[in-house]
Amino acid sequence: MTEDYSSVSLDDALAKAGPAAASFARLWERLWRQDHIPPELLELCRLTLARLHDDAVELAAASPAGVTVARARRDAVIAGAAFDADGFSEGDRAVLLFAEYYWTDPQSITDAVADDVKAHFGEPGLVFLIEALGCLDGRIRAARCLRAMSAHLPAKEPAYVG
């Protein structure tokens, strides 16, 4: 059976790695409990990365616990239309544009794009956004690897005792 791992549901699969996995799970939890970038906007970043990865499982994943996104904003981001749609502030657009540059290649991020994020969220906000994007993108990538391994390899037979 192919497991539908996503960035949101990855931690059980990684838990067998021990303390490092637990630490990464705690870092994930902290992303959604901070004052730098609104969690709803962070969730829109996750959906932006999912769209850029063309990852249907990630796009279909439920939002992290406690995070609610307005349907129209979610649909606009999934459609790649956030920059033309109503309902997005200049700060939202600055963050979502930064996320697209980050996904393409961090070396491609221009000073103007970074300055725009800083203008709305300050230097700590920019640093937090960079960390959060790394965490989100990494979890999407790890989930894709686990899904691929699950799809390509035969399921292990359960061991019965007695």
Binding site: A13, G18, P19, R30, Q34, H36, D115, I130, C145
Partner: protein, 175 residues
């Protein structure tokens, strides 16, 4: 790549390169990021040599000048020579690296790819050499390495490439 840092550190000199960097501006995450680095190196289910090999593959892919120049002491103590470290370059599958090292790099490339993911041959290669727990351990390490190197590049202020190879203690990022 921006030569000018887009954020500056909190002006602390704790001796921890993460806490003293711009990442120190985010108190909600910095302690856990330091803890994560420590767990990745201290509690790994694969040896330091394998961790260093996938870290260097990540460093090459992300093109982080600092990450490419660093060699961690624990990996060298575990037997990773500079000649061997250079074998992580493209074409590693035909190199003198051991099958387990090549499988670890195949997992790293699957993670780092555009798109990320792996084909059936790579999945079999990885599964033939590593348990599920070891794969999970390496994926967490890859997330940590990729996250920190991409953070360094995104914040900017990278020196000219290349820097000289320098051996450092993992303690600078983990304690």
């Amino acid at each position: 790549m921006s030569a000018k840092p887009r954020a500056t550190g909190p002006a602390t000199q704790t001796g921890n390169v993460i806490r003293d960097s711009a990442m120190g501006l985010v108190p909600e995450t910095v302690d856990e990021i330091i803890a994560l680095n420590g767990h990745v190196w201290r509690d790994s289910l694969v040896p330091p040599t394998l961790l260093e090999i996938i870290r260097l593959r990540n460093a090459r892919t992300v093109n982080c000048v600092f990450c490419k120049s660093v060699r961690y002491d624990v990996a060298r103590a575990d037997g990773l020579t500079e000649d061997r470290a250079e074998l992580v370059a493209d074409g590693y599958q035909a190199s003198a690296l051991a099958p387990r090292e090549k499988a670890a790099l195949a997992l790293a490339d699957a993670y780092l790819g555009f798109p990320a993911g792996m084909d059936a041959d790579a999945a079999r290669q990885v599964a033939a050499e590593f348990s599920d727990a070891e794969v999970a351990s390496m994926l967490v390490a890859l997330m940590c390495f990729n996250f920190t190197s991409r953070t360094a590049v995104s914040i900017g202020g990278m020196p000219e490439d290349p820097l000289p190879i320098m051996e450092v203690s993992v303690a600078i990022a983990t304690s």
